[in-house]
């Protein structure tokens, strides 16, 4: 009997809920860390979503990682030196590795100019540059002028570089490359600039002083780090949330219409909203094929010009003795009678890589 009553009550409540969802929608409060809303999970609702609120206490479908598994994956390197590996490397050794493996993308001494991130150069003073008119200089955000921590550099080099084959460098090599890049940025260690013989290791890493360490806000360090972030987001003026809802005769600092100067049109595929059929499909073509045909075939189609001919295994076996990196560098910088990028300076590094890959893979 009691059971029956209970069921009846439950059904009535359910009917109410179904009939009047908005009344029972969970509450929302402006108390998230980022200054936004949080939505409670109560009465079977999360905001406007129905949810299952049954207890999941004790639910665990995983297993404990082994000590070796933790060691294999827990490899982050933190500003306080936690995670720094054993090993060492000098500025001079780093210079050699850099030239061999990094310069092709990041330019000589990390100075950029090849389209990939610039790693050195510029001054901290440039960080206040504002390009409000054409021809003005950009702020230079390089390792030396911008990066707050050296740990970021060695960690990223180890996990993510070289770009095309990450995690291939030894611990000694990552110390050497870090040392070289810090030296190229005139970073001081223990108050002194680094010369070619300088050797970086776990022991002196904490003595590196990054010039722009204090260039960021809010302060996230220490036990109040998260609370500082909360305080920062409490005031919209801190992050640009200063819009006002004016409806009539709104003033806007004498704003006038600014139109596009030079339109950026280099998009792929080209703009079109036409609804028609595509007759030909080229999607299976090698991405370097078209570039090869337009720029390289004139010399490389046969061996008449002295260039290694496409499809000639013997020609290309000889070329490949130098190694892929060197072949790639030659294609970009020119070699012998071949001009840089085959004479077409508009080709990007990426297009060049694809062209070279196309030529190699068709000459095996």
């Amino acid at each position: 009997m009691f059971k029956c009553d209970h069921k009846f009550i439950a059904t009535s409540v359910a009917a109410l809920v179904l009939g009047s969802t908005p009344v029972f929608a969970s509450s929302a409060k402006k108390n998230a860390l980022d200054g936004g809303m949080t939505y409670s999970r109560d009465r079977g609702m999360y905001s406007v979503y129905n949810i299952n609120e049954q207890d999941t206490k004790g639910m665990n479908h995983g297993r404990t990682p082994t000590a070796n598994e933790l060691k294999a994956w827990d490899t982050d390197i933190m500003p306080d030196g936690t995670g720094l590996p054993e090993g060492k490397g000098s500025v001079e050794e780093g210079d050699e590795i850099y030239e061999e493996q990094c310069g092709v993308c990041h330019g000589d001494f990390g100075a950029g100019g090849v389209g990939y991130p610039t790693l050195s150069g510029g001054s901290m003073d440039s960080l206040t540059n504002q390009r409000t008119a054409p021809g003005m200089d950009a702020p230079k955000r390089t390792i030396g002028t911008y990066w707050p921590q050296a740990s970021t550099l060695i960690w990223y080099i180890r996990d993510a570089m070289p770009y095309a084959h990450p995690k291939s460098l030894s611990n000694d090599e990552i110390y050497a490359l870090t040392a070289y890049l810090l030296a190229a940025n005139e970073i001081k260690v223990d108050g002194k600039e680094m010369d070619d013989d300088f050797v970086l290791s776990k022991d002196n890493f904490s003595k590196i002083k990054m010039p722009n360490e204090d260039g960021f806000y809010p302060n996230i360090n220490g036990k109040d780090g998260v609370e500082n972030v909360r305080k920062f987001f409490k005031d919209g003026k801190n992050y640009g949330a200063v819009g006002k809802r004016c409806m009539k005769n709104c003033k806007d600092d004498n704003a006038t219409v600014m139109r596009i100067g030079i339109e950026m049109k280099d998009v792929n595929p080209a703009y079109s909203t036409v609804r028609d059929l595509v007759p030909v499909d080229n999607s299976n073509a090698h991405p370097g094929k078209a570039g090869y045909e337009a720029n390289c075939a004139v010399c490389h189609a046969t061996d008449k010009m002295g260039a290694p001919a496409l499809g000639s295994k013997s020609d290309w076996d000889k070329v490949m003795e130098k190694g892929t990196t060197k072949v790639m560098m030659n294609a970009i910088n020119g070699v012998g009678s071949m001009p840089p990028k085959g004479g077409n300076s508009d080709l990007t590094e990426w297009q060049m890589q694809m062209i070279v890959d196309y030529m190699i893979s068709n000459s095996k």
């Binding site: 860390l33 980022d34 200054g35 936004g36 809303m37 939505y39 999941t56 639910m59 665990n60 479908h61 995983g62 297993r63 404990t64 990682p65 598994e69 933790l70 994956w73 090849v114 389209g115 206040t128 504002q130 390009r131 911008y146 960690w155 996990d159 993510a160 260039g215 960021f216 806000y217 809010p218 996230i220 360090n221 036990k223 780090g225 972030v229 003026k237 801190n238 992050y239 640009g240 949330a241 200063v242 819009g243 809802r245 709104c250 806007d252 600092d253 704003a255 600014m258 950026m264 998009v267 792929n268 595929p269 909203t273 609804r275 028609d276 059929l277 595509v278 007759p279 499909d281 890589q353």
Partner: protein
């Protein structure tokens, strides 16, 4: 690009194409005639169509369905300007917002940003670890993760660089390139709190490292408070497994926060009491202000909106004076729901409130709509959203005053389209 690779398909397509052009030509003639008193008959009505007089394709010709071949221009687009040296392994593709209907982006059109190419992970070899300052570290396979109760929620995801090319002025005459670094999807996965409740997270662990397993090991530091609030491990979008471009088989979802924080191809979470200073929260994804100092850990995507119709790709050139037409667009905020959207026809001097339509969900795209009688006169058309915490989009000048023009990230000032007398639509900015 729609693939039509088999020879037999190509033949069919080519014959249909000739047919299409012939009919289009006929249609154009009849459309012109329709404006005169004596309107000509439309051949598309008076004659049998090709598709009505032939047997159609076999129903399961494409076991995984494809868009109509006529929709081949509804695609993500890239530009070498938003890449390193034109290299499309560390670049971004943008969603065609001008073709976007409703608030759910189809999986094949979801914008994509990668730092070391699109990783292709074997789900059988996929492992995910949670460790650090917790009592019970854990390793989970994909199947393990799917054993936890699932939830499905609709949230937008936006790259904080969305519109970054436009700080110094308008650059692209395209909705896709002005605001296409975002998409909105129904995500399915497990709330992280459901898993973490059993693992005993140390109360002193105020930070959490989130790291991917692609070649760049994309990593960020996230406050544990967010992880315990609405963060999810998601393995599905719009009813199917994540696309590889979106982090198959598992990505982190932090609703309302920078898409960069929602790490794809997720590898591990490590709890700790100090922030990690990852590469993508120091050298990049920090907002340099005119003071020379930069905002770090700038998590939420602020209130924002854009008119999607008309737009440069979908102009009003076919409208006649006096035509009634719907102006519509998208509004969104990482801080909560959209409260309201205003529209201006005069570049922001005067505003009227538009109508919200469809679902109004937290941290989701929300549609707005306004019916307008086109007068054939030039307009400066703008939208301005207000969200649940009453933040209102700033003008370009207001935002510039606080951030400057070199911030790169988190641009959310009002966007303006100039509608020309002939109905063409151009991207402009109101600024001094």
């Amino acid at each position: 690009m729609t693939k039509i690779s088999k020879a037999s398909n190509t033949e069919i397509v080519q014959s249909t194409r000739r047919d299409f052009f012939r009919k289009t030509a006929a249609y154009s003639v009849s459309a012109i005639a329709a404006t005169s008193i004596l309107s000509a008959d439309d051949e598309n009505i008076t004659h049998h169509s090709k598709w009505g007089t032939t047997l159609g394709d076999e129903l399961n010709k494409n076991p995984y369905g494809l868009p109509s071949p006529y929709e081949h221009n509804n695609v993500r687009r890239t530009t070498p300007l938003l890449s390193s040296a034109g290299d499309m392994h560390a670049a971004i593709s943008l969603t065609p917002l001008h073709e976007q209907e409703g608030i759910i982006t189809p999986n094949g059109l979801f914008f994509t940003r990668t730092h070391n190419g699109v990783a292709q992970i074997d789900p059988n070899k996929f492992r995910f670890m949670i460790h650090g300052m917790i009592e019970k570290p854990i390793v989970l396979t994909l199947e393990d993760i799917k054993k936890y109760p699932s939830e499905s929620v609709i949230h937008f995801l936006e790259c904080p660089s969305n519109g970054a090319a436009e700080w110094k002025g308008p650059q692209f005459n395209s909705l896709q390139f002005v605001k296409g670094m975002m998409s909105c999807t129904e995500w399915t996965g497990v709330r992280l709190k459901t898993i973490l409740d059993d693992l005993g997270v140390d109360p002193k662990a105020i930070w959490c490292l989130v790291e991917g397993q692609d070649g760049s090991e994309m990593s960020r530091t996230v406050p544990t408070e967010k992880i315990m609030d609405d963060a999810m491990l998601v393995y599905a979008m719009n009813g199917e497994a994540l696309r590889a471009e979106q982090g198959y088989p598992l990505r982190l979802l932090l609703p309302g926060w920078e898409a960069n924080l929602c790490v794809k191809w997720l590898k591990r979470l490590e709890f700790g009491d100090k922030p990690w200073y990852c590469k993508e929260e120091t050298s990049k994804y920090t907002t340099l202000t005119a003071s020379g100092k930069a905002i770090q850990h700038f998590y939420p995507l602020e209130v924002n909106s854009i008119i999607t119709s008309p737009c440069p790709e979908k102009p009003w050139t076919s409208l006649k004076k006096g035509d009634m037409i719907e102006i519509q667009g998208l509004a969104w905020s990482g801080h909560g729901k959209i409260k309201l959207v205003d529209i201006s026809f005069d570049g922001g001097k005067n505003w009227v409130e538009a109508n919200l339509k469809g679902l109004v969900l937290p941290k989701s795209w929300t549609r707005f709509s306004y019916i307008y009688k086109y007068e054939g006169k030039p307009l400066l058309l703008a939208s301005r959203a207000m969200d649940e915490i009453k933040n209102v989009q700033p003008t370009v000048n207001q935002e510039k005053k606080i951030i400057g023009v070199e911030g790169v990230y988190h641009r959310n000032s009002i966007c303006t389209w100039e509608v020309k007398e002939n109905g063409e639509v151009h991207n402009v900015q109101m600024r001094s």
